[in-house]
Symmetry: C2
Protein backbone atom coordinates (compact mmCIF):
# COMPACT_ATOMS: atom_id res chain seq x y z
CA UNK A 1 0.00 0.00 0.00
CA UNK A 2 1.77 3.17 -1.16
CA UNK A 3 1.84 6.43 0.75
CA UNK A 4 -0.06 9.40 -0.63
CA UNK A 5 2.82 11.85 -0.84
CA UNK A 6 6.58 11.92 -0.43
CA UNK A 7 9.14 14.70 -0.60
CA UNK A 8 12.87 14.33 -1.24
CA UNK A 9 15.94 16.53 -1.37
CA UNK A 10 18.91 16.04 -3.69
CA UNK A 11 22.02 18.17 -3.38
CA UNK A 12 24.05 20.13 -5.87
CA UNK A 13 27.15 18.38 -7.12
CA UNK A 14 30.40 19.18 -8.83
CA UNK A 15 31.28 17.10 -11.86
CA UNK A 16 34.89 16.53 -12.93
CA UNK A 17 36.40 17.63 -9.59
CA UNK A 18 39.04 19.42 -11.63
CA UNK A 19 41.23 17.02 -13.52
CA UNK A 20 38.78 14.10 -13.38
CA UNK A 21 36.85 14.99 -16.53
CA UNK A 22 33.72 12.83 -16.83
CA UNK A 23 34.99 10.34 -14.23
CA UNK A 24 34.70 12.10 -10.85
CA UNK A 25 31.97 13.97 -9.06
CA UNK A 26 31.26 15.12 -5.53
CA UNK A 27 28.13 16.08 -3.65
CA UNK A 28 27.76 19.37 -1.80
CA UNK A 29 25.93 19.54 1.53
CA UNK A 30 23.68 22.25 0.12
CA UNK A 31 21.92 23.71 -1.74
CA UNK A 32 19.71 21.25 -3.55
CA UNK A 33 16.39 20.69 -5.28
CA UNK A 34 13.25 19.37 -3.60
CA UNK A 35 10.62 17.28 -5.33
CA UNK A 36 7.22 16.35 -3.94
CA UNK A 37 5.56 13.30 -5.47
CA UNK A 38 1.85 12.69 -5.00
CA UNK A 39 0.15 9.41 -5.83
CA UNK A 40 -2.54 9.38 -8.46
CA UNK A 41 -4.55 6.44 -9.77
CA UNK A 42 -3.93 7.07 -13.47
CA UNK A 43 -0.59 5.82 -14.76
CA UNK A 44 2.11 8.18 -15.98
CA UNK A 45 3.96 11.14 -14.60
CA UNK A 46 2.89 14.78 -14.69
CA UNK A 47 4.68 17.93 -13.64
CA UNK A 48 2.06 19.88 -11.71
CA UNK A 49 4.20 22.86 -10.88
CA UNK A 50 7.77 24.10 -10.99
CA UNK A 51 8.88 26.78 -8.57
CA UNK A 52 12.08 28.76 -8.75
CA UNK A 53 12.99 28.27 -12.42
CA UNK A 54 11.44 31.51 -13.69
CA UNK A 55 9.59 29.46 -16.27
CA UNK A 56 12.74 28.13 -17.92
CA UNK A 57 12.12 24.40 -17.51
CA UNK A 58 9.72 22.29 -19.60
CA UNK A 59 6.50 20.99 -18.03
CA UNK A 60 6.27 18.28 -20.70
CA UNK A 61 7.04 15.04 -18.83
CA UNK A 62 8.95 13.72 -21.86
CA UNK A 63 11.38 16.61 -21.67
CA UNK A 64 11.66 17.24 -17.95
CA UNK A 65 14.52 15.45 -16.24
CA UNK A 66 12.56 14.94 -13.00
CA UNK A 67 9.55 13.47 -14.81
CA UNK A 68 11.68 11.15 -16.92
CA UNK A 69 13.48 9.86 -13.82
CA UNK A 70 10.19 9.50 -11.91
CA UNK A 71 8.63 7.52 -14.74
CA UNK A 72 11.71 5.29 -14.96
CA UNK A 73 11.35 4.50 -11.25
CA UNK A 74 7.65 3.68 -11.71
CA UNK A 75 8.60 1.38 -14.59
CA UNK A 76 11.35 -0.27 -12.55
CA UNK A 77 9.10 -0.88 -9.57
CA UNK A 78 6.35 -2.02 -11.92
CA UNK A 79 3.30 -0.28 -10.47
CA UNK A 80 0.08 0.73 -12.20
CA UNK A 81 -0.34 4.07 -10.46
CA UNK A 82 1.17 7.33 -11.58
CA UNK A 83 2.60 10.39 -9.82
CA UNK A 84 2.13 14.13 -9.88
CA UNK A 85 5.33 16.05 -9.22
CA UNK A 86 5.97 19.47 -7.77
CA UNK A 87 9.52 20.61 -8.37
CA UNK A 88 11.15 23.22 -6.16
CA UNK A 89 14.22 24.44 -8.04
CA UNK A 90 16.76 25.82 -5.64
CA UNK A 91 19.76 25.42 -7.92
CA UNK A 92 20.61 27.82 -10.71
CA UNK A 93 20.35 26.33 -14.21
CA UNK A 94 23.42 25.78 -16.41
CA UNK A 95 25.71 26.79 -13.56
CA UNK A 96 27.94 23.74 -13.24
CA UNK A 97 26.28 22.61 -10.03
CA UNK A 98 24.42 19.61 -11.41
CA UNK A 99 21.01 21.27 -11.44
CA UNK A 100 19.33 18.80 -13.80
CA UNK A 101 20.86 15.88 -11.93
CA UNK A 102 19.54 17.12 -8.59
CA UNK A 103 16.00 17.37 -10.00
CA UNK A 104 16.17 13.88 -11.47
CA UNK A 105 17.57 12.39 -8.28
CA UNK A 106 15.10 14.15 -5.98
CA UNK A 107 12.21 12.93 -8.15
CA UNK A 108 13.48 9.37 -8.21
CA UNK A 109 14.04 9.26 -4.46
CA UNK A 110 10.61 10.79 -3.78
CA UNK A 111 8.80 8.29 -6.01
CA UNK A 112 10.73 5.39 -4.50
CA UNK A 113 9.76 6.60 -1.00
CA UNK A 114 6.14 6.96 -2.08
CA UNK A 115 6.01 3.22 -2.72
CA UNK A 116 7.75 2.22 0.50
CA UNK A 117 11.35 2.40 -0.74
CA UNK A 118 11.46 -0.89 -2.66
CA UNK A 119 14.73 0.11 -4.37
CA UNK A 120 18.13 0.86 -2.88
CA UNK A 121 19.82 4.11 -3.81
CA UNK A 122 22.23 2.20 -6.03
CA UNK A 123 19.28 0.60 -7.83
CA UNK A 124 17.86 4.08 -8.53
CA UNK A 125 20.99 5.10 -10.47
CA UNK A 126 19.85 3.89 -13.93
CA UNK A 127 16.48 5.66 -13.58
CA UNK A 128 18.19 8.90 -12.55
CA UNK A 129 20.57 8.58 -15.50
CA UNK A 130 17.63 8.32 -17.88
CA UNK A 131 16.43 11.68 -16.61
CA UNK A 132 19.88 13.24 -16.96
CA UNK A 133 20.31 11.77 -20.45
CA UNK A 134 17.24 13.67 -21.61
CA UNK A 135 18.85 17.04 -20.94
CA UNK A 136 22.62 16.75 -20.94
CA UNK A 137 23.72 13.28 -21.97
CA UNK A 138 24.22 10.01 -20.18
CA UNK A 139 26.76 11.06 -17.56
CA UNK A 140 26.83 9.85 -13.98
CA UNK A 141 29.31 12.42 -12.68
CA UNK A 142 26.56 14.60 -11.22
CA UNK A 143 23.82 11.98 -10.81
CA UNK A 144 25.88 9.53 -8.75
CA UNK A 145 27.20 11.99 -6.14
CA UNK A 146 23.84 13.76 -5.82
CA UNK A 147 22.19 10.39 -5.18
CA UNK A 148 24.85 8.64 -3.09
CA UNK A 149 26.77 11.52 -1.53
CA UNK A 150 30.52 11.82 -1.09
CA UNK A 151 33.16 11.75 -3.80
CA UNK A 152 32.34 9.27 -6.55
CA UNK A 153 34.46 7.61 -9.21
CA UNK A 154 32.49 6.69 -12.32
CA UNK A 155 33.90 3.34 -13.35
CA UNK A 156 31.92 3.14 -16.58
CA UNK A 157 28.18 2.94 -17.22
CA UNK A 158 26.34 2.33 -13.95
CA UNK A 159 29.44 1.19 -12.07
CA UNK A 160 30.48 3.69 -9.43
CA UNK A 161 32.87 3.63 -6.49
CA UNK A 162 32.79 5.82 -3.40
CA UNK A 163 36.15 7.37 -2.58
CA UNK A 164 37.30 8.65 0.80
CA UNK A 165 36.52 12.27 1.64
CA UNK A 166 39.47 13.95 3.39
CA UNK A 167 38.49 15.17 6.86
CA UNK A 168 38.71 18.94 7.10
CA UNK A 169 37.95 19.51 3.43
CA UNK A 170 35.91 22.67 2.80
CA UNK A 171 34.79 24.18 -0.46
CA UNK A 172 34.22 27.83 -1.33
CA UNK A 173 32.00 28.30 -4.36
CA UNK A 174 31.14 31.25 -6.54
CA UNK A 175 28.48 31.23 -9.24
CA UNK A 176 28.67 34.24 -11.53
CA UNK A 177 25.39 35.21 -13.07
CA UNK A 178 26.07 33.94 -16.57
CA UNK A 179 24.88 30.68 -18.06
CA UNK A 180 27.29 28.19 -19.60
CA UNK A 181 25.15 25.45 -21.17
CA UNK A 182 26.79 22.05 -20.90
CA UNK A 183 26.32 21.51 -24.62
CA UNK A 184 28.37 24.61 -25.38
CA UNK A 185 31.03 23.72 -22.83
CA UNK A 186 31.39 20.31 -24.49
CA UNK A 187 31.59 21.77 -27.98
CA UNK A 188 34.83 23.60 -27.15
CA UNK A 189 36.66 20.47 -26.05
CA UNK A 190 39.39 19.09 -28.31
CA UNK A 191 38.61 15.90 -30.20
CA UNK A 192 42.08 14.52 -29.61
CA UNK A 193 44.77 15.02 -27.03
CA UNK A 194 48.57 14.74 -27.44
CA UNK A 195 49.90 11.55 -25.84
CA UNK A 196 52.15 13.49 -23.46
CA UNK A 197 49.18 15.52 -22.18
CA UNK A 198 47.20 12.31 -21.73
CA UNK A 199 50.05 10.90 -19.65
CA UNK A 200 50.21 14.03 -17.50
CA UNK A 201 46.43 13.87 -17.02
CA UNK A 202 46.58 10.26 -15.82
CA UNK A 203 49.38 11.19 -13.42
CA UNK A 204 47.29 14.02 -11.99
CA UNK A 205 44.26 11.75 -11.57
CA UNK A 206 46.44 9.16 -9.84
CA UNK A 207 47.79 11.83 -7.48
CA UNK A 208 44.24 12.97 -6.77
CA UNK A 209 43.03 9.49 -5.80
CA UNK A 210 46.19 8.95 -3.74
CA UNK A 211 45.57 12.27 -1.97
CA UNK A 212 41.95 11.35 -1.16
CA UNK A 213 43.06 8.10 0.48
CA UNK A 214 45.78 9.86 2.47
CA UNK A 215 43.57 12.79 3.41
CA UNK A 216 46.10 15.19 1.89
CA UNK A 217 44.02 18.25 0.97
CA UNK A 218 47.01 20.18 -0.33
CA UNK A 219 48.00 17.45 -2.81
CA UNK A 220 44.34 16.96 -3.66
CA UNK A 221 43.96 20.62 -4.62
CA UNK A 222 47.18 20.67 -6.63
CA UNK A 223 46.20 17.51 -8.50
CA UNK A 224 42.68 18.82 -9.19
CA UNK A 225 44.18 21.96 -10.72
CA UNK A 226 46.67 20.04 -12.90
CA UNK A 227 44.26 19.79 -15.80
CA UNK A 228 46.07 20.43 -19.04
CA UNK A 229 43.17 19.56 -21.31
CA UNK A 230 39.65 20.51 -20.25
CA UNK A 231 40.23 23.70 -18.28
CA UNK A 232 42.43 25.30 -20.97
CA UNK A 233 39.72 24.55 -23.54
CA UNK A 234 36.95 26.06 -21.43
CA UNK A 235 38.79 28.87 -19.68
CA UNK A 236 37.54 31.51 -22.10
CA UNK A 237 33.95 30.69 -21.13
CA UNK A 238 34.70 31.53 -17.48
CA UNK A 239 35.00 35.27 -16.96
CA UNK A 240 38.12 36.33 -15.06
CA UNK A 241 39.14 32.80 -14.12
CA UNK A 242 42.77 33.75 -13.48
CA UNK A 243 41.90 36.75 -11.32
CA UNK A 244 39.26 34.87 -9.33
CA UNK A 245 41.69 32.00 -8.75
CA UNK A 246 44.37 34.40 -7.56
CA UNK A 247 41.91 36.14 -5.22
CA UNK A 248 40.92 32.84 -3.59
CA UNK A 249 44.52 31.71 -3.20
CA UNK A 250 45.43 35.06 -1.71
CA UNK A 251 43.24 34.20 1.28
CA UNK A 252 44.48 30.64 1.62
CA UNK A 253 42.60 28.47 -0.87
CA UNK A 254 44.79 25.57 -1.98
CA UNK A 255 43.37 25.35 -5.50
CA UNK A 256 40.54 26.62 -7.67
CA UNK A 257 38.80 24.58 -10.35
CA UNK A 258 35.81 24.89 -12.64
CA UNK A 259 32.80 23.07 -11.18
CA UNK A 260 31.50 20.73 -13.88
CA UNK A 261 31.12 22.66 -17.11
CA UNK A 262 31.10 25.97 -15.22
CA UNK A 263 30.72 28.86 -14.71
CA UNK A 264 30.71 28.05 -10.99
CA UNK A 265 34.23 28.00 -9.63
CA UNK A 266 35.24 25.98 -6.59
CA UNK A 267 38.03 26.83 -4.17
CA UNK A 268 39.49 23.84 -2.35
CA UNK A 269 40.25 24.72 1.25
CA UNK A 270 41.26 23.06 4.50
CA UNK A 271 39.08 25.04 6.91
CA UNK A 272 35.63 26.59 7.07
CA UNK A 273 37.15 30.03 7.66
CA UNK A 274 39.33 29.87 4.58
CA UNK A 275 36.45 28.55 2.47
CA UNK A 276 34.24 31.44 3.62
CA UNK A 277 37.02 33.95 2.91
CA UNK A 278 37.74 32.40 -0.47
CA UNK A 279 34.09 32.56 -1.52
CA UNK A 280 33.95 36.19 -0.39
CA UNK A 281 37.20 37.06 -2.18
CA UNK A 282 35.95 35.49 -5.41
CA UNK A 283 32.68 37.38 -5.10
CA UNK A 284 34.56 40.65 -4.52
CA UNK A 285 36.54 40.03 -7.70
CA UNK A 286 33.30 39.65 -9.70
CA UNK A 287 31.74 42.64 -7.93
CA UNK A 288 34.72 44.73 -8.95
CA UNK A 289 33.97 44.17 -12.63
CA UNK A 290 30.19 44.38 -12.30
CA UNK A 291 29.32 40.70 -12.61
CA UNK A 292 26.61 39.61 -10.18
CA UNK A 293 27.42 36.36 -8.39
CA UNK A 294 26.38 34.23 -5.47
CA UNK A 295 28.84 32.72 -3.03
CA UNK A 296 28.61 29.82 -0.63
CA UNK A 297 30.90 27.61 1.36
CA UNK A 298 30.22 24.08 2.54
CA UNK A 299 31.64 20.64 3.04
CA UNK A 300 31.19 17.60 0.84
CA UNK A 301 27.72 16.17 1.43
CA UNK A 302 28.26 12.65 2.68
CA UNK A 303 24.64 11.59 2.63
CA UNK A 304 23.53 12.65 -0.84
CA UNK A 305 19.81 12.62 -1.54
CA UNK A 306 17.37 12.05 1.31
CA UNK A 307 13.68 11.69 1.95
CA UNK A 308 12.31 14.76 3.72
CA UNK A 309 8.84 13.45 4.53
CA UNK A 310 6.45 10.71 3.53
CA UNK A 311 2.83 10.33 4.49
CA UNK B 1 87.48 7.45 5.04
CA UNK B 2 85.80 5.43 2.29
CA UNK B 3 85.62 1.66 2.15
CA UNK B 4 87.65 -0.16 -0.48
CA UNK B 5 84.82 -2.05 -2.14
CA UNK B 6 81.02 -2.23 -2.05
CA UNK B 7 78.52 -4.42 -3.84
CA UNK B 8 74.86 -3.69 -4.41
CA UNK B 9 71.82 -5.41 -5.88
CA UNK B 10 69.01 -3.68 -7.76
CA UNK B 11 65.91 -5.58 -8.82
CA UNK B 12 64.07 -5.86 -12.08
CA UNK B 13 61.03 -3.66 -12.39
CA UNK B 14 57.90 -3.35 -14.45
CA UNK B 15 57.18 0.06 -15.96
CA UNK B 16 53.62 1.18 -16.77
CA UNK B 17 51.92 -1.50 -14.63
CA UNK B 18 49.46 -1.89 -17.46
CA UNK B 19 47.34 1.19 -17.91
CA UNK B 20 49.75 3.54 -16.08
CA UNK B 21 51.86 4.44 -19.11
CA UNK B 22 54.96 6.37 -18.00
CA UNK B 23 53.51 7.11 -14.57
CA UNK B 24 53.61 3.82 -12.65
CA UNK B 25 56.27 1.21 -11.97
CA UNK B 26 56.78 -1.66 -9.56
CA UNK B 27 59.80 -3.54 -8.30
CA UNK B 28 60.10 -7.31 -8.47
CA UNK B 29 61.72 -9.25 -5.64
CA UNK B 30 64.10 -10.85 -8.14
CA UNK B 31 65.98 -11.16 -10.38
CA UNK B 32 68.27 -8.15 -10.47
CA UNK B 33 71.68 -6.82 -11.43
CA UNK B 34 74.67 -6.68 -9.11
CA UNK B 35 77.39 -4.04 -9.30
CA UNK B 36 80.68 -4.09 -7.42
CA UNK B 37 82.39 -0.74 -6.99
CA UNK B 38 86.07 -0.56 -6.02
CA UNK B 39 87.78 2.62 -4.89
CA UNK B 40 90.63 4.01 -6.92
CA UNK B 41 92.68 7.11 -6.34
CA UNK B 42 92.32 8.56 -9.83
CA UNK B 43 89.05 10.41 -10.46
CA UNK B 44 86.46 9.13 -12.91
CA UNK B 45 84.55 5.92 -13.43
CA UNK B 46 85.66 2.88 -15.39
CA UNK B 47 83.87 -0.32 -16.30
CA UNK B 48 86.38 -3.03 -15.54
CA UNK B 49 84.23 -5.96 -16.57
CA UNK B 50 80.69 -6.87 -17.53
CA UNK B 51 79.46 -10.41 -16.99
CA UNK B 52 76.30 -11.90 -18.40
CA UNK B 53 75.64 -9.51 -21.27
CA UNK B 54 77.32 -11.60 -23.99
CA UNK B 55 79.28 -8.52 -24.95
CA UNK B 56 76.24 -6.46 -25.82
CA UNK B 57 76.79 -3.54 -23.45
CA UNK B 58 79.28 -0.70 -23.95
CA UNK B 59 82.36 -0.51 -21.73
CA UNK B 60 82.72 3.20 -22.53
CA UNK B 61 81.79 4.98 -19.26
CA UNK B 62 80.07 7.74 -21.24
CA UNK B 63 77.68 5.25 -22.76
CA UNK B 64 77.16 2.73 -19.98
CA UNK B 65 74.17 3.40 -17.76
CA UNK B 66 75.92 2.06 -14.64
CA UNK B 67 79.01 4.20 -15.20
CA UNK B 68 76.98 7.34 -15.86
CA UNK B 69 74.98 6.82 -12.68
CA UNK B 70 78.12 6.04 -10.67
CA UNK B 71 79.84 9.19 -11.91
CA UNK B 72 76.75 11.25 -11.10
CA UNK B 73 76.86 9.93 -7.52
CA UNK B 74 80.57 10.79 -7.25
CA UNK B 75 79.79 14.29 -8.51
CA UNK B 76 76.88 14.66 -6.09
CA UNK B 77 78.93 13.54 -3.10
CA UNK B 78 81.82 15.69 -4.31
CA UNK B 79 84.78 13.38 -3.82
CA UNK B 80 88.12 13.36 -5.63
CA UNK B 81 88.49 9.60 -5.92
CA UNK B 82 87.08 7.47 -8.68
CA UNK B 83 85.59 3.99 -8.93
CA UNK B 84 86.11 0.85 -10.94
CA UNK B 85 82.91 -1.07 -11.60
CA UNK B 86 82.22 -4.72 -12.24
CA UNK B 87 78.72 -5.28 -13.58
CA UNK B 88 77.00 -8.63 -13.20
CA UNK B 89 74.06 -8.58 -15.63
CA UNK B 90 71.39 -10.98 -14.50
CA UNK B 91 68.55 -9.35 -16.37
CA UNK B 92 67.93 -9.86 -20.07
CA UNK B 93 68.37 -6.73 -22.20
CA UNK B 94 65.43 -5.02 -23.95
CA UNK B 95 63.00 -7.35 -22.22
CA UNK B 96 60.71 -4.88 -20.46
CA UNK B 97 62.14 -5.68 -17.05
CA UNK B 98 64.05 -2.46 -16.50
CA UNK B 99 67.46 -3.92 -17.21
CA UNK B 100 69.26 -0.63 -17.78
CA UNK B 101 67.56 0.90 -14.74
CA UNK B 102 68.69 -1.97 -12.51
CA UNK B 103 72.31 -1.51 -13.61
CA UNK B 104 72.19 2.24 -13.01
CA UNK B 105 70.57 1.83 -9.60
CA UNK B 106 72.92 -0.94 -8.44
CA UNK B 107 75.93 1.17 -9.45
CA UNK B 108 74.60 4.26 -7.68
CA UNK B 109 73.81 2.35 -4.50
CA UNK B 110 77.20 0.61 -4.53
CA UNK B 111 79.12 3.88 -4.97
CA UNK B 112 77.06 5.57 -2.27
CA UNK B 113 77.82 2.66 0.09
CA UNK B 114 81.52 2.85 -0.78
CA UNK B 115 81.64 6.35 0.68
CA UNK B 116 79.69 5.50 3.82
CA UNK B 117 76.17 6.11 2.46
CA UNK B 118 76.14 9.92 2.58
CA UNK B 119 73.00 10.07 0.41
CA UNK B 120 69.52 8.70 1.07
CA UNK B 121 67.94 6.48 -1.56
CA UNK B 122 65.65 9.34 -2.55
CA UNK B 123 68.67 11.58 -3.05
CA UNK B 124 70.18 9.00 -5.40
CA UNK B 125 67.21 9.23 -7.76
CA UNK B 126 68.54 12.07 -9.97
CA UNK B 127 71.91 10.31 -10.41
CA UNK B 128 70.18 7.06 -11.38
CA UNK B 129 67.98 8.96 -13.84
CA UNK B 130 71.07 10.38 -15.53
CA UNK B 131 72.22 6.85 -16.18
CA UNK B 132 68.84 5.79 -17.52
CA UNK B 133 68.60 8.90 -19.69
CA UNK B 134 71.77 7.84 -21.51
CA UNK B 135 70.16 4.67 -22.83
CA UNK B 136 66.40 5.00 -22.90
CA UNK B 137 65.31 8.49 -22.00
CA UNK B 138 64.64 10.32 -18.77
CA UNK B 139 61.96 8.10 -17.27
CA UNK B 140 61.64 7.22 -13.61
CA UNK B 141 59.12 4.41 -14.04
CA UNK B 142 61.81 1.72 -13.79
CA UNK B 143 64.48 3.66 -11.89
CA UNK B 144 62.27 4.68 -8.97
CA UNK B 145 60.82 1.23 -8.16
CA UNK B 146 64.18 -0.51 -8.64
CA UNK B 147 65.73 1.97 -6.21
CA UNK B 148 62.93 2.39 -3.67
CA UNK B 149 60.95 -0.85 -3.99
CA UNK B 150 57.19 -1.25 -4.01
CA UNK B 151 54.72 0.32 -6.42
CA UNK B 152 55.67 3.85 -7.36
CA UNK B 153 53.69 6.72 -8.84
CA UNK B 154 55.83 9.13 -10.87
CA UNK B 155 54.44 12.54 -10.03
CA UNK B 156 56.61 14.40 -12.53
CA UNK B 157 60.38 14.82 -12.73
CA UNK B 158 62.00 13.56 -9.55
CA UNK B 159 58.78 13.58 -7.53
CA UNK B 160 57.62 10.08 -6.70
CA UNK B 161 55.03 8.61 -4.33
CA UNK B 162 54.96 5.11 -2.89
CA UNK B 163 51.61 3.42 -3.23
CA UNK B 164 50.26 0.56 -1.12
CA UNK B 165 51.05 -2.97 -2.29
CA UNK B 166 48.03 -5.27 -1.89
CA UNK B 167 48.81 -8.17 0.45
CA UNK B 168 48.64 -11.48 -1.39
CA UNK B 169 49.64 -10.02 -4.75
CA UNK B 170 51.77 -12.40 -6.82
CA UNK B 171 53.10 -11.95 -10.32
CA UNK B 172 53.78 -14.58 -12.96
CA UNK B 173 56.18 -13.40 -15.66
CA UNK B 174 57.21 -14.76 -19.00
CA UNK B 175 60.03 -13.35 -21.11
CA UNK B 176 60.04 -14.66 -24.68
CA UNK B 177 63.44 -14.72 -26.29
CA UNK B 178 62.94 -11.77 -28.62
CA UNK B 179 64.16 -8.22 -28.07
CA UNK B 180 61.81 -5.24 -28.17
CA UNK B 181 63.99 -2.15 -27.91
CA UNK B 182 62.28 0.61 -25.96
CA UNK B 183 62.96 3.05 -28.79
CA UNK B 184 61.00 0.87 -31.21
CA UNK B 185 58.18 0.31 -28.73
CA UNK B 186 57.87 4.07 -28.33
CA UNK B 187 57.90 4.71 -32.05
CA UNK B 188 54.65 2.79 -32.54
CA UNK B 189 52.70 4.88 -30.05
CA UNK B 190 50.09 7.30 -31.38
CA UNK B 191 50.92 10.99 -31.22
CA UNK B 192 47.41 11.90 -30.20
CA UNK B 193 44.56 10.15 -28.45
CA UNK B 194 40.79 10.67 -28.86
CA UNK B 195 39.32 12.54 -25.91
CA UNK B 196 36.97 9.67 -25.05
CA UNK B 197 39.90 7.23 -24.87
CA UNK B 198 41.79 9.66 -22.68
CA UNK B 199 38.80 9.79 -20.33
CA UNK B 200 38.58 6.00 -20.19
CA UNK B 201 42.31 5.82 -19.48
CA UNK B 202 42.03 8.24 -16.56
CA UNK B 203 39.11 6.21 -15.18
CA UNK B 204 41.16 3.02 -15.37
CA UNK B 205 44.12 4.66 -13.63
CA UNK B 206 41.79 5.97 -10.92
CA UNK B 207 40.35 2.48 -10.42
CA UNK B 208 43.87 1.07 -10.22
CA UNK B 209 44.96 3.49 -7.48
CA UNK B 210 41.68 2.89 -5.63
CA UNK B 211 42.25 -0.88 -5.88
CA UNK B 212 45.78 -0.59 -4.49
CA UNK B 213 44.53 1.29 -1.45
CA UNK B 214 41.73 -1.20 -0.86
CA UNK B 215 43.93 -4.23 -1.50
CA UNK B 216 41.53 -5.40 -4.20
CA UNK B 217 43.72 -7.52 -6.51
CA UNK B 218 40.84 -8.42 -8.79
CA UNK B 219 39.95 -4.77 -9.49
CA UNK B 220 43.66 -3.98 -9.73
CA UNK B 221 44.15 -6.55 -12.46
CA UNK B 222 41.06 -5.46 -14.39
CA UNK B 223 42.10 -1.81 -14.21
CA UNK B 224 45.67 -2.61 -15.30
CA UNK B 225 44.32 -4.42 -18.34
CA UNK B 226 41.93 -1.59 -19.31
CA UNK B 227 44.49 0.13 -21.47
CA UNK B 228 42.89 1.34 -24.67
CA UNK B 229 45.91 3.24 -25.94
CA UNK B 230 49.39 1.80 -25.36
CA UNK B 231 48.73 -1.94 -25.42
CA UNK B 232 46.72 -1.81 -28.67
CA UNK B 233 49.56 0.15 -30.29
CA UNK B 234 52.23 -2.31 -29.15
CA UNK B 235 50.34 -5.58 -29.27
CA UNK B 236 51.77 -6.54 -32.66
CA UNK B 237 55.29 -6.43 -31.18
CA UNK B 238 54.33 -9.08 -28.59
CA UNK B 239 54.06 -12.51 -30.18
CA UNK B 240 50.86 -14.37 -29.33
CA UNK B 241 49.72 -11.87 -26.72
CA UNK B 242 46.07 -12.94 -26.88
CA UNK B 243 46.86 -16.66 -26.59
CA UNK B 244 49.34 -16.17 -23.77
CA UNK B 245 46.85 -14.01 -21.90
CA UNK B 246 44.14 -16.61 -22.33
CA UNK B 247 46.46 -19.38 -21.13
CA UNK B 248 47.31 -17.50 -17.95
CA UNK B 249 43.68 -16.68 -17.23
CA UNK B 250 42.74 -20.28 -17.81
CA UNK B 251 44.72 -21.20 -14.70
CA UNK B 252 43.40 -18.35 -12.57
CA UNK B 253 45.40 -15.22 -13.42
CA UNK B 254 43.24 -12.13 -12.94
CA UNK B 255 44.86 -10.08 -15.70
CA UNK B 256 47.84 -10.05 -18.04
CA UNK B 257 49.71 -6.93 -19.12
CA UNK B 258 52.83 -6.03 -21.04
CA UNK B 259 55.71 -5.34 -18.66
CA UNK B 260 57.13 -1.94 -19.60
CA UNK B 261 57.75 -1.85 -23.34
CA UNK B 262 57.70 -5.67 -23.51
CA UNK B 263 58.10 -8.38 -24.60
CA UNK B 264 57.87 -9.68 -21.02
CA UNK B 265 54.26 -10.30 -20.06
CA UNK B 266 53.05 -10.19 -16.48
CA UNK B 267 50.14 -12.16 -15.06
CA UNK B 268 48.51 -10.56 -12.02
CA UNK B 269 47.55 -13.23 -9.48
CA UNK B 270 46.33 -13.53 -5.93
CA UNK B 271 48.38 -16.53 -4.82
CA UNK B 272 51.84 -18.00 -5.31
CA UNK B 273 50.35 -21.18 -6.72
CA UNK B 274 48.37 -19.37 -9.37
CA UNK B 275 51.35 -17.17 -10.28
CA UNK B 276 53.52 -20.28 -10.73
CA UNK B 277 50.84 -21.96 -12.82
CA UNK B 278 50.29 -18.84 -14.89
CA UNK B 279 54.00 -18.48 -15.63
CA UNK B 280 54.13 -22.16 -16.63
CA UNK B 281 51.01 -21.87 -18.79
CA UNK B 282 52.42 -18.86 -20.60
CA UNK B 283 55.70 -20.69 -21.15
CA UNK B 284 53.84 -23.70 -22.51
CA UNK B 285 52.06 -21.46 -24.98
CA UNK B 286 55.39 -20.13 -26.29
CA UNK B 287 56.89 -23.64 -26.30
CA UNK B 288 54.01 -24.81 -28.43
CA UNK B 289 54.97 -22.39 -31.20
CA UNK B 290 58.72 -22.81 -30.82
CA UNK B 291 59.54 -19.53 -29.06
CA UNK B 292 62.08 -19.96 -26.27
CA UNK B 293 61.13 -18.16 -23.08
CA UNK B 294 61.96 -17.93 -19.41
CA UNK B 295 59.33 -17.93 -16.69
CA UNK B 296 59.36 -16.75 -13.12
CA UNK B 297 56.93 -15.90 -10.39
CA UNK B 298 57.49 -13.55 -7.47
CA UNK B 299 55.95 -10.89 -5.30
CA UNK B 300 56.49 -7.16 -5.51
CA UNK B 301 59.90 -6.33 -4.03
CA UNK B 302 59.23 -4.01 -1.13
CA UNK B 303 62.83 -3.16 -0.39
CA UNK B 304 64.16 -2.23 -3.82
CA UNK B 305 67.92 -1.91 -4.17
CA UNK B 306 70.16 -3.01 -1.31
CA UNK B 307 73.81 -3.14 -0.36
CA UNK B 308 75.10 -6.72 -0.42
CA UNK B 309 78.50 -6.12 1.17
CA UNK B 310 80.89 -3.33 1.93
CA UNK B 311 84.46 -3.61 3.17
Amino acid sequence: MPFSTAEAFAPASMGNVGVGFDILGLALEEPGDVVRATLRSAPGTAIVRIEGDSGALPIDPQKNTAAVAAQAVLDTIGVQQGVDLVLHKRLPLASGLGSSAASAVAAAVAVNALFGTPLTKEALLPACLEGEARVSGYHADNIAPSLLGGIILIAGGHRVRRLPVPPGLWLGLITPDIAVPTVEARAVLPETVPLALMTAQTAAVALLIDALYRGDISQMAAAMESDGIVEPARAHLMPRLAEVRAAAKQVGALGVVISGAGPTLCAVCDSADIARSAAAAMKAEYDRVGIASSALHCQVGLEGARVLCVQ
